[in-house]
Amino acid sequence: METCKGCKYFFAIPEDADDYEDGKGDCVKQKTDEKGKFWLSKPIFESGPRCEAFSA
């Protein structure tokens, strides 16, 4: 089963970060609406199941 780890929007948290945990990363998505572009970042774990935004 594909997990977040294989997604190009998964960015592992560096070991020296305050919130580092093994397998933890940032899920960063670029969005666009009529007002323009913006990015959202949410903490996830690499073992999480793929979501509809998954992109390898």
Binding site: V28, W39, S41
Partner: protein
């Protein structure tokens, strides 16, 4: 363009043609659409794509705006997990869970980053304050999704909320009366509405790592003290609360640092993985560097200061707890960093113009900030997101002018970018430099409705006066008294590293003198709106044989309403101290850090106030009754009451008489003498008999926000000749719209007569557009301000907008998106205000300056 009639002044004929010739070719009804001049293309783009969250008649204008669920979900999750821990620790863990796990937002083009919800079109909710406000959202188009989960969360909080804690200490009848919001605002524990003055200074000067170090040092000291022998239980147990508070502060500060650094990481990820423009990529890396450094470390330059301030704002006003406002003495706060970056160019070097761009960007961040207020609080600020007010100007402790180049940058940016928020307060003093005064004037002349002007001498004296009541003996020093800013629209309070106001239960909230008068005429019963007893039984209109009988009955009603209002705030405060602690705010306050106390609990500088709204309707009504009934004996109280019950229908001649009775704002000695007595003996004098949580006498801050419309609709016909449901007076001490007929200086003379027992009183004035835009505009305004100051009036704010333009905007709103007006205490896009409210602004007297006015003002041309 409209031309004001010529005026002869000291042998000279003044012709009021525009100072800028190009304006002669601009039609009167579109002037404001020609005044937008962003300093850069970036700020133009940011304004064009601004995600305004203005509401009109309680509805969000932009239909994409909704409540988010994330904050309430994460807070609730933490609350469930932390059962059994000390409450202040639970509050800190709640904040930590939000900040560790919330979705971050970074938008295109922005330099100052950070948002308080999971999507830039959303805003958070606060079920821990009051489930009533969330109930309202759940029933609306703006409900957080999924609604079922949000409803479950709200149910979870129902027994844990501030509302649940407080309401048992009140007679249900009293509560029911407050919930009518017709003689009193609903209690704080039911509304969740709040305000705060964050001690930004410690964050910018110390950084949060230093605050953590201080707290940890204090914990170590406390533990050592507890371990001393022989044990003294009368003192040693005091350390327990302190240790919990300091521990919570450490948790909160670490969480905020982690959250800021998550922003740093996001900016780096965007730069390295998404952004294609090399210049923006470089900028994102710079933002990443800033967010990694601040607020953890002290700010080293002006960019650091803007970012650290914004993060602090979000935590204090939107994430740890909701609070309206944008209270800060911004020019003084940023001045050290301006000097580093602009004058010394030793860190984050930049020009003055680049600072102006930063301020424009900050203004746009505020403009798209959304607040999860209940419907009632959206309705009373029509045309705005919320209240956001910053302060500039004033004097330094040695009495010299405090205006600096940062003051000017703030004013230039406001003039250029034309956003309704944040509003600006200018602390006017006679020593203010002309360069800055001209910028203040330009903002006003261009119709922004701000800066709103406050009297420096009165503000400083007020800080010193309230310091005398400090329960800790540590109120404002003479030096600190010069560091005040308005807490919200109107009330001064301290800024700085400690002693600032932390909750609206200290000062804020409203009561409504016109409705109190209405029920005074009917034995305390509200026949026109609530259809219930709203106050004690003090007799009917016909029972009042003398004016003093009526007066005494009013005073009794007033005492009941005001004591209940302040009691409700203090009971809220009691439970805020126990269940709504604010460990982050505590961590950044030097007093809380020193004493190991929660920010809500510690009160070093009392600042108690409450807002009478609709005072002038009540006052004009008293004048009319005194004259026509008790002195001229033209009518009886029975006749008046009958006419009022009929909303004057069938009593038209009688209404004309009551409407023609002397009115406030015309320098009429008859009206003014009674109204002065009303303000000083009742509105202020009776209120000052009440002592609040902090030990200070409560004083009135007469203002109106949009409540003058909202409460006007709930107030029946009044003896000033007003029909039931008509709007009330639009300021704390403003003449009723259209009844000030003797020119601008007559208004000043009337208002200056009220001096005792007041904290602040809002004065709205509408000035002639052609006069203000002429070459004589600045000297006339400057002379007006000097006279205003010398008369000892504490406040004034201006609309400079033509009736033609407002009426044109009513017809074609899409063509007038940049038309801004001053409502009362805040500015709004005119087209975002409901028609009812728009008409109240059109109805305000547009003051023109006659030769007598110019002479009284001593205008030198």
């Amino acid at each position: 363009m409209n031309i004001h009639a010529d005026v002869e002044h000291r042998g000279k004929v003044l012709k009021f043609t525009p100072e800028n010739d190009a304006e002669l070719n601009i039609p009167d009804d579109e002037l404001h659409e020609h005044l937008f001049r962003p300093s850069t293309d970036r700020t133009r783009r940011l304004k064009e794509r601004c995600r305004w969250k203005h509401a009109s008649a309680g509805e969000f204008i932009n239909k994409d705006v909704t409540a988010g669920i994330e904050r309430m979900r994460l807070l609730t999750e933490a609350h469930k997990k932390s059962d059994g821990k000390p409450e202040v620790i639970r509050r800190a863990l709640g904040l930590k869970n939000i900040l560790d796990n919330c979705t971050l937002v970074v938008q295109e083009d922005e330099f100052i980053v950070g948002y308080h919800a999971e999507d830039p079109n959303m805003f958070p909710l606060y079920p821990e304050l009051t489930p009533l406000a969330v109930d309202d959202y759940l029933m609306s188009d703006y409900a957080p999704q999924p609604v079922k989960e949000a409803a479950e969360i709200n149910e979870y909080w129902r027994p844990h909320s501030l509302l649940a804690k407080c309401q048992g200490y009140f007679d249900p009848t009293d509560l029911q009366r407050m919930f009518q919001v017709s003689s009193m605002e609903a209690p704080a524990f039911a509304t969740g509405y709040n305000s705060i003055v964050p001690p930004y200074e410690t964050v910018l000067e110390d950084g949060l790592l230093e605050r953590i170090r201080l707290a940890e040092e204090n914990i170590a000291h406390a533990r050592a003290e507890m371990e001393k022998t022989p044990w003294d239980g009368t003192k040693g147990l005091d350390w327990i609360d302190k240790i919990d508070n300091w521990t919570a502060m450490v948790i909160a500060c670490k969480a905020v640092i982690g959250w800021a650094r998550r922003h740093a990481r996001l900016c780096r990820i965007i730069a390295e993985n998404f952004e294609t423009d090399p210049k923006r990529r470089e900028e994102l890396l710079e933002i990443a560097d800033i967010c990694h450094r601040v607020p953890a470390e002290p700010c080293r330059g002006i960019k650091d200061a803007f970012q650290a301030k914004w993060f602090t704002y979000l935590i204090c006003h939107a994430i740890e707890r909701y609070a309206s406002g944008y209270a800060q003495l911004e020019d003084r706060l940023l001045w050290p960093y301006y000097q580093i970056s602009v004058h010394d160019r030793s860190f984050q070097p930049m020009s003055h113009e680049e600072v102006v761009e930063l301020v424009e960007m900050e203004r746009l961040k505020v403009a798209e900030h959304g607040a999860g207020k209940s419907r009632a609080y959206r309705e009373i600020f029509p045309g705005s997101n919320d209240l956001f007010i910053l302060t500039v100007g004033g004097t330094l402790p040695d009495g010299s002018d405090a205006c600096n180049d940062m003051t000017d940058a703030i004013l230039e940016a406001a003039r250029n970018i034309r956003t309704t928020e944040p509003s600006i307060v200018f602390r006017y003093s006679p020593v203010a430099r002309e360069k800055t005064l001209k910028l203040v004037f330009e903002c006003i002349r261009d119709g922004l409705g701000y800066p709103s002007i406050m009297h420096e001498g009165i503000g400083v004296a007020q800080m010193k006066e309230y310091a005398q009541y400090s329960l800790t003996g540590n109120g404002a020093t003479d030096e600190e008294a010069h560091s005040w800013a308005n807490v919200l629209c109107m009330s001064p309070g301290l800024t700085g590293r400690r002693k600032t106001q932390k909750t609206r239960t200290e000062g804020g909230g409203s009561f409504f003198p016109a409705k109190i008068l209405e029920i005074t005429l009917n034995n305390g019963y509200d026949w026109s709106y609530a259809d219930m007893q709203l106050g004690p039984e003090t007799g009917h209109a016909k029972d009042f044989k003398t004016f003093e009988d009526l007066w005494d009955a009013y005073v009794e009603q007033y005492r009941y309403a005001t004591s209940l209002c302040i009691r409700a705030k203090d009971v809220s405060r009691y439970f805020e101290n126990r269940y709504l602690q604010a460990p982050f705010v505590s961590a950044i306050d030097d007093g809380c850090m020193e004493l190991g106390m929660d920010a809500n609990a510690l009160s070093e500088q009392p600042n108690p106030w409450h807002d009478p709204v609709t005072t002038i309707v009540a006052a004009n009504s008293l004048v009319a009754m005194k004259k026509l009934i008790f002195e001229d004996k033209k009518y009886t109280m029975e006749q008046l009451f009958e006419a009022l019950r009929a909303n004057w229908e069938g009593h038209e001649e009688m209404r004309k008489d009551f409407k023609a009775a002397p009115k406030w704002g015309n320098d009429d000695d008859y009206a003014d003498a009674l109204i002065k007595r009303f303000y000083e003996e009742v509105i202020g004098g009776e209120l000052a008999k009440i002592t609040n949580y902090s030990g200070g006498p409560v004083k009135p801050v007469g203002q109106a926000v949009g409540l003058y419309m909202e409460v006007g609709t709930r107030t029946g016909p009044t003896p000033d000749g007003r029909f039931g449901g008509e709007a009330a007076d639009d300021g704390g001490i403003s003449p009723y719209m259209g009844t000030d007929k003797k020119g601008p200086t007559a208004v000043l003379k009337s208002v200056s007569k009220v001096q005792k027992n007041q904290k602040a009183n809002l004065l709205n004035q509408r000035l002639s557009v052609p006069v203000m835009r002429s070459s004589y505009g600045f000297p006339i305004w400057a002379a007006y301000m000097k006279t205003w100051y010398d008369l000892g009036i504490d406040h004034v704010q201006f609309n400079v907008v033509s009736t033609e333009e407002m009426k044109a905007a009513q017809k074609e709103p899409e063509k007038h998106q940049d038309l801004i007006v001053r409502v009362s205490g805040y500015s709004a896009r005119f087209v975002d205000i409901p028609t009812y409210g728009q008409n109240t602004i059109i109805s305000r007297t547009e003051q023109e300056f006659g030769s007598g006015d110019l002479e009284f003002l001593g205008v030198e041309l």
